[in-house]
């Protein structure tokens, strides 16, 4: 039997506010345990939550970016359960009325675009951390993370493969960073996914029973976990067993998923509106103010690049992989013609990306500034540098040897465009290579290329190739 895979993702994006969602404590990562937990975070008797407007603004920004409806009125609810790292005994979240309803995200898998529908996105607070390994026979509690603002983004079960799920997660990851609502740091847990996975016979319209894989904090784990889970579920079904709704954990060491709890152990969270918080109202004015501050979205930026500089969709896609990269391109191509823009794109997607990858740096850490890159492109365009020389200059810039012009001067790398000088060199070559000249004249086009090669060698690559061509042709035509 052929099986169809159905996947929906729930993603927790940590919002990039300086302080927590309901208290003034810092959200910075890495402090000593419990040093960033204030009276509200540790839920002392009598403390009350106060909503961080920065978290709301980020949620609105996300809603606008995915074309969802930003609710004029949403409600914080209490999700009640006992756990030592949940200080109040309830988590403040949004349940019936979330701040963002609907929206969608376009992903690309291979050459294919696909639109994934979003169900909702809601604001909530994170819990603390239970430290089971650090203490013998005991569990430590670190409440630094308690109260960190999260946006939980829920997709419809629109994905049909692990590859689509990963593409969705990557696109979402890039978007939340692009609109500056989340730093996307997956190692620190700022962006993590739960995957709801089910399978069904191909052609069926009924959803199979799903199992939810919790807390996947890398794209690789997401891929591996879904792959394993899909094979496991198919195996169960093909062996005549049925799937029980369950929550599972992925173990990266074994590459397997294992059961955490079944539906039977599911909590009754006894959701009800939090009486300590007023309903969250977003006025049309506030919405308009956030909209006015929105950057162009990746798809919009892509189109601008294609329209303005005639870039290929592929290059434009590369340049809009992150907002920082797009901004780097903007700085490099500032006020440029289509030709310059194209060259900038080539250099960024080519040599610069390669160097960054090799050094394990991102664009904000580039050793070649956008202005320096533009300086290089300008020298290529005015034919001071051949492409080959330009690469040498780029490498020198990467090593911190200065701007293009400084390096050209220091290394004497100027391209020879002086036709008198070139004619002299060409005459010498023609005199020294009678056989090649003879071959060319007898119709062997290859001999012409060999002669060009000789000229370039003699000038150590600094000759302007176009000019060499022209002069050679005219001399041989005589």
């Amino acid at each position: 039997m052929k099986w169809e895979v159905v996947i929906g993702l729930e993603t927790h994006a940590q919002l990039s506010t300086v302080s927590k969602i309901f208290s003034g404590a810092s959200t910075a990562f890495g402090a000593a345990a419990n040093c960033q937990a204030c009276a509200v975070d540790i839920a002392l008797p009598g403390v009350l939550p106060v909503l961080n407007t920065g978290a709301v603004e980020r949620a609105i920004r996300f809603g606008l970016a995915v074309g969802g409806e930003v609710s004029p009125y949403s409600v914080f609810a209490r999700k009640n359960y006992f756990y030592p790292d949940l200080p109040k005994g309830y988590q403040i979240s949004q349940f019936e009325l979330p701040i963002v309803v609907g929206g969608n995200l376009t992903i690309t898998v291979g050459e294919q675009d696909k639109t994934i529908r979003l169900t909702r996105a809601h604001l909530e607070e994170d819990a603390g951390k239970s430290l089971h390994e650090e203490f013998r026979d005991r569990t430590g509690i670190d409440l630094n993370r308690a109260g960190t603002p999260l946006l939980e983004i829920v997709s419809e079960p629109d994905m049909r493969s692990a590859a689509e799920a990963v593409a969705y997660a990557r696109t979402l990851h890039s978007l939340v960073r692009w609109i500056d609502v989340c730093d996307g740091n997956m190692q620190e847990g700022s962006f993590r996914c739960d995957a709801n996975v089910s399978v069904r016979p191909m052609g069926s319209t009924v959803l199979g029973t799903r199992r939810e894989i919790k807390n996947l904090n890398s794209f690789r784990f997401l891929q591996q976990a879904i792959d394993y889970e899909v094979q496991w579920q198919i195996g169960e079904l093909e062996d005549g067993r049925s799937i029980q709704q369950a929550t599972v954990l992925f173990d990266p060491a074994s590459g397997e998923t294992r059961m955490m709890r079944t539906k039977e152990d599911a909590h009754d969270y006894r959701y009800f509106p939090d009486p300590d918080l007023l309903p969250l109202a977003v006025s049309p004015e506030r919405l308009a103010a956030v909209r006015a501050q929105m950057p162009l979205l990746p798809t919009e930026r892509r189109q601008v690049l294609v329209d303005t500089y005639g870039l290929t969709v592929y290059d434009a896609d590369q340049l809009t992989a992150s907002r920082e990269l797009a901004e780097y391109f903007d700085r490099a191509a500032a006020g440029a013609t289509e030709q310059v823009g194209k060259l900038c794109a080539n250099w960024i997607c080519g040599a610069l990306s390669a160097s960054l990858n090799e050094a394990g740096l991102d664009i904000t850490q580039s050793r070649v500034s956008a202005q320096q890159l533009r300086g290089l492109v300008d020298r290529v365009l005015d034919q001071t540098l051949s492409n080959k020389m330009a690469k040498l200059v780029f490498d020198a810039m990467w090593l911190g040897e200065g701007d293009a012009d400084q390096i050209i001067a220091a290394k004497g790398l100027k391209q020879i465009s002086d036709s008198g000088e070139l004619a002299r060199v060409i005459d010498e070559i023609l005199a020294a290579q009678p056989q090649l000249v003879a071959d060319f004249k007898s119709g062997k086009e290859k001999a012409f290329n060999a002669l060009v090669g000789q000229v370039m060698r003699a000038t150590r690559g600094s000759a302007n190739p176009q000019q060499v061509n022209d002069i050679l042709r005219s001399k041989l035509a005589v």
Partner: protein
């Protein structure tokens, strides 16, 4: 037994006829003398109180005294006070020393008031008789065999017996007004959102409101002035223009329209209470007020609605007491679940457990719509009844409590009977309105009767004016208990 009002103490301090240290010492002596028989206080700390009084005197010497500087008061033990044991009347918090001040405590400290101690209360404010306290019952100073009412029973008894000139209380379903009525003092629950709840240990967040307890309406106004104000730490705190609650006290009452809801004359209302209330209303007519018949058709639903919503919120509010970070933790347990169960089983008393169970039940899957959602809808109807009534009148009056103080143990075995003692006060909390109780007479056994005055939203100044005017022509509020107090 005699007492002094906040107003007279303030005058003496201003004139320099006595110091805050002297006054404070005087009250500490009375506490020392009488608390054993009354059990009003859970914590006193004379050294700390006297140090605060000395600071107040220095402040006065510098010419920086405000109207309340140097006046001692007692705080209900529901308010977190820095470095004070803050128990909320529970074993669960019997070891909890607060590291911070509640907004109310902070504000009154800033005004220069002196904390005499923390007063006894029903556990987590759940009770109407102060019998659910882990720290023992509070005795009514008018008759030591009777309850002082609750949950602010310790504050009420302390003020009534002259152990503090004024006190703070909180009122979720009548917890300021009912004990005020049963001990013959004045108590006011402001409009919801007027006094910040920050640092006030939550019972039912959408109903809880702090307020002053005192001998006179004028004292209530003075204390309320220092308690109100917007607080960014409480999202339900309201930003309002400044009001001086003493500002309207002396206005004549001519033309005042008093609404009398017929529902307030329900079965179970003691005849002597009814008579005392009727007499007070007759006095108001002599002062120029007119009587308007109004109706609160859904009042009968207020007790059942309250006993769905308040426990629902409480069950969640009290989840934080899990033995993990502070408070009571069982000495022995086998695993996490066992620690939770034992710590909570040991830390909470029977009434608190009952309400947690009710609240957990009404919020549970499958029951939520039938109980919680329906109760919320009825809550709106109850509030609308008041809005309709206030279209016809300026204040609503009636009894605060259907009976005078009942005997210790009389109702504690029957929770339903106990819940009905709040029948006249609960609707006010559900509607978020201000309400107060002032003394208006005594029954045949010499027990005080309370008159309830309910105002429209933010109409506290008018209510205080109405109360003050009665106190200009009556002396119920000046009576002090003598017979019941052993000394």
């Amino acid at each position: 037994m005699t007492y002094q009002t906040l107003q007279s103490l303030a005058q003496n301090l201003a004139k320099g006829t006595c110091s805050s240290v002297e006054i404070t010492q005087d009250y500490l002596n009375k506490i020392n003398e009488l608390n054993l028989s009354l059990n009003c206080f859970i914590s006193v700390d004379p050294a700390r109180s006297l140090a605060q009084a000395a600071q107040a005197d220095q402040r006065r010497a510098r010419g920086e005294a405000g109207p309340l500087t140097g006046i001692p008061l007692a705080h209900k033990d529901i308010f977190c006070a820095k470095d004070w044991l803050t128990t909320c009347g529970s074993k669960m918090l019997s070891n909890f020393v607060s590291p911070y001040d509640a907004h109310v405590v902070e504000s009154l400290n800033a005004a220069g008031m002196v904390t005499l101690g923390k007063t006894n209360m029903d556990e987590f404010a759940m009770g109407s008789s102060n019998e659910t306290s882990f720290f023992g019952v509070v005795h009514n100073p008018w008759d030591l065999n009777r309850v002082p009412g609750g949950s602010s029973g310790g504050s009420a008894a302390a003020v009534a017996a002259g152990l503090a000139p004024v006190a703070t209380g909180t009122d979720t379903g009548g917890s300021i007004r009912q004990p005020a009525a049963l001990t013959g003092i004045c108590g006011l629950k402001p409009t919801y959102g007027t006094v910040s709840r920050y640092g006030m240990i939550a019972f039912a967040s959408s109903l809880d409101q702090a307020g002053p307890m005192a001998h006179t309406a004028a004292d209530l106004a003075l204390l309320l002035n220092a308690m109100v104000g917007f607080d960014g730490r409480d999202s339900t705190s309201l930003e309002r223009p400044y009001t001086d609650y003493t500002g309207q006290l002396t206005q004549p009452l001519k033309g005042l329209r008093i609404g009398l809801p017929k529902e307030f004359l329900a079965a179970g209302l003691a005849p002597e209470v009814e008579q005392a209330v009727a007499a007070a209303i007759a006095q108001y007519q002599q002062l120029g007020a007119t009587i308007v018949d109004v109706t609160l058709p859904n009042m009968g639903l207020s007790v059942p609605v309250y006993y769905v919503l308040a426990p629902a919120e409480a069950s969640s509010n009290l989840s934080r007491y899990d033995g993990v970070r502070y408070g009571h933790r069982a000495a022995e347990y086998v695993d996490l679940m066992d620690m939770y169960k034992r710590s909570r089983a040991e830390g909470f008393g029977a009434e608190v457990k009952r309400r947690i169970l009710i609240g957990t039940y009404v919020l549970s899957h499958g029951y939520y719509d039938a109980y919680y959602i329906r109760a919320q809808k009825l809550r709106r109807l109850i509030a609308q009844d008041f809005v309709a009534a206030f279209a016809l009148c300026d204040v609503i009056m009636g009894p605060t409590s259907p009976t005078t103080a009942f005997k210790l143990g009389e109702k504690s075995a029957d929770p339903l009977q106990m819940y009905l003692s709040d029948i006249y006060t609960i609707g006010v909390n559900l509607a978020g309105l201000p309400g107060m109780s002032i003394p208006c007479g005594f029954d045949g056994q010499g027990l005080p009767v309370g008159l309830q005055i309910i105002g429209n939203y933010f109409d506290e100044a008018r209510m205080l004016n109405v109360a003050h005017q009665l106190q200009q022509v009556s002396d119920w509020h000046l009576r002090a208990p003598t017979a019941g107090v052993r000394s």
